[in-house]
């Protein structure tokens, strides 16, 4: 009976935390706007095959660089591709790249942050020094350097590289969470019960550090979208991918005669990053992790 009661209170408390966060989130109109923008982009990405009017990669000879019209709502590019369809499918690429890179970032960042924060001492010192170094180096330059190593630049490789370079902030946040949580009573209790270190780290401390992890991941997402687009724009991305950056690059060469080619995909990147930034800020305030980030 006693056990049952305890479990219920823990559950209730967890629901309470989420409930409070949601209530705070709901009150903030700006965060709701961010959530709506993000969900809309995600909806576009998921429904791409249903809502795009044309095949985004189909070349239409004789219809190159058409201005926006009823036939092509946002015009066509240098190969006569329908820009609206291309942008719709591009949402897929951008979001998949962001999700992939974030998964890698979380895996590496949580592991390094947890080890550094839990064990402390010389391990912490070494790991944090490396983290600081990667954090101060210009990410774009590191990306260029890493990308230059590969002859074939596929979207998968770019995603992997971005995630592999993007974890320092996550590691720092997780470390600071672990530093404060490892002193708490429930960790003491777990230790005195003889529970193993790994289990304490992943089973007892990590679930309590989940909200800052979510917030950092959300705030990092727009960077990955921006970096992938930048690499593609510079001609160092995946030339075969349907990427907003590739389309802006194509538009750059015809800027004087066809402004719409570079403008619309850029606008999509802009809107998506605004949405994710607002959502991230909203989550940070809702989970009340502002002081820690």
């Amino acid at each position: 009976m006693q056990k049952l009661l305890n479990r219920k209170t823990v559950k209730e408390r967890k629901a309470g935390m989420l409930h409070i966060a949601w209530r705070r989130f709901k009150k903030n109109k700006v965060s709701i706007a961010g959530a709506i923008i993000t969900l809309t982009i995600a909806g576009i990405a998921i429904l791409a095959p249903l809502i795009s009017p044309y095949n985004p990669e189909k070349l239409n000879y004789g219809k190159e660089l058409q201005p926006p019209s009823w036939e092509f709502l946002l015009g066509t590019d240098t190969g006569g591709r329908d820009i609206l369809s291309y942008i719709i499918w591009g949402a897929r690429t951008s979001l998949l790249v962001a999700i992939g890179a974030i998964l890698i970032e979380v895996a590496i960042g949580v592991l390094i942050g947890a080890i550094a924060g839990y064990f402390g001492g010389i391990i912490d010192e070494i790991l944090m020094r490396i983290t600081d170094i990667i954090m101060t180096l210009p990410t774009i330059l590191l990306l260029l350097t890493a990308v230059s190593m590969f002859k074939v630049r596929s979207i998968v490789i770019i995603t992997l590289i971005m995630g592999a370079l993007g974890w320092p902030w996550m590691a720092r946040i997780v470390r600071s969470e672990f530093l404060s949580l490892k002193e708490s009573l429930f960790v003491e209790a777990a230790k005195s019960l003889g529970i193993g270190k790994l289990r304490i780290i992943f089973h007892h401390i990590l679930p309590n550090a989940i909200s800052p992890i979510i917030v950092v991941a959300t705030l990092d997402a727009p960077f990955y979208i921006m970096y992938e687009a930048t690499l593609s724009f510079l001609g160092l991305g995946d030339p075969t991918a349907i990427s907003w950056g590739n389309l802006v690059a194509r538009g750059k060469d015809v800027l004087t005669s066809a402004w719409w080619v570079a403008t619309f995909p850029g606008l999509m990147i802009f809107i998506t990053t605004i949405g994710l930034n607002l959502l991230g800020d909203g989550l940070r305030d809702a989970f009340d992790v502002r002081a820690r980030i």
């Binding site: 170094i133 990410t139 330059l141 350097t145 190593m149 590969f150 727009p222 510079l234 800027l255 930034n277």
Partner: protein, 326 residues
């Protein structure tokens, strides 16, 4: 006494730079050496010599036959002597090309940092003081736009609007080519070319500093010592600029190092688009050509710049924040 403490602090910071520099150089070196593909293949592109004896000779000459740690020591010692190797593209010493371009990037980045710090701090204070007014909303919205806008797209829009449509500024380059100008004419011409890349590079980081200053100011303005200052009858101007800003500016100072890395990354993009012949454009061109000695040289140069900037930042923070004692 205080001066001695400060000297020790600076010395200690300087000492920390050495392992940081070594670790960074190892990261850069190993990044280049786990790269798939044979360096000789890349050096000679399609025209790789077929005779295995000649290949053996080239490997020996380049030191590629030695174990990897020996290669690293040779490379880092050469770097300290100022020898960064030769470019695969034109066989010129990398250090000469970097020296020719370094100033243009330093100029662009320094000016953009000064501009964005000024804009960020002044506007951040204004927004925090007029909290929740339309001024605050407008500034916060602009800042959101500033850090959400991809810099390459902003550059393209600026070119489209200010260079192509209105013809106020040139599309690219750092000076007009083929025109004889006196000193002042050349300077004006240079600044005229500098305007657009500088604006694009500054907008994003100004937005970032604005955010930091605004939120720090909002926190500081709630503190008791501000109420005390007001109660003492100090003018609002003195309370805000002398008492509040001094504390609100600390997060800006501490994040300066990180944001410098960010701006240097932005410089790569902006320089490539505006064909501004600095280090960033060099990095871009070398990446396209897979010119490894140049890429490594640029990376090391940037690491040095970042380290120096961080050192200066640490000293500045110690000077403005008396709580940091060493």
């Amino acid at each position: 006494m205080l001066a001695m403490e400060l000297r020790n602090y600076i010395l200690r910071r300087l000492l920390i730079c050495i392992p940081t520099f070594l670790v960074s150089s190892m990261i850069i070196f190993s990044l280049m050496h786990i790269a798939p593909g044979d360096p000789i293949e890349i050096m000679y592109r399609g025209t790789r010599p077929t005779n295995p004896k000649i290949i053996e000779l080239i490997r020996e000459k380049l030191g590629l036959d030695k174990p990897i740690y020996e290669q690293y020591f040779i490379w880092i010692l050469n770097f300290l002597k100022g020898d960064l190797g030769y470019s695969y593209v034109n066989n010129q010493p990398v250090i000469e090309q970097i020296a020719a371009r370094l100033w243009l990037t330093v100029e662009l980045v320094l000016l953009s940092q000064v501009l964005s710090l000024l804009m960020g701090i002044v506007l951040g204070v204004v927004a925090a003081v007029k909290r929740n007014s339309w001024v605050d909303s407008l500034l916060s919205l602009s800042s959101l736009f500033g850090y959400s806008m991809p810099s390459f797209w902003m550059a393209i829009l600026f070119i489209l609007i200010f260079a192509i449509t209105f013809k106020w500024f040139p599309v690219c380059g750092s000076q007009t080519i083929g025109v004889e100008l006196d000193f002042w004419g050349a300077l004006a011409d240079h600044l005229w070319h500098l305007t657009l890349p500088l604006l694009v590079l500054s907008f994003g980081s100004a937005a970032w500093y604005f955010r930091l200053v605004r939120s720090a100011m909002l926190d500081v303005l709630q503190m008791d010592y501000i109420k005390t200052a007001r109660a003492k009858g100090l003018t609002e101007r003195i309370v805000i600029y002398k008492h509040a800003l001094r504390n609100a500016i600390l997060p800006v100072a501490t994040s300066f190092g990180t944001s410098l890395g960010f701006v240097l990354g932005g410089a790569v993009v902006v320089e490539s688009i505006f064909a501004w012949p600095g280090l960033g454009e060099f990095a871009y061109k070398s990446t396209l050509a897979r010119d490894y000695p140049s890429i490594m040289g640029i990376n090391m140069m940037i690491v040095l710049c970042v380290l120096i900037a961080n050192l200066i930042t640490d000293i500045v923070i110690a000077l403005i924040d008396p709580r940091i004692r060493y």
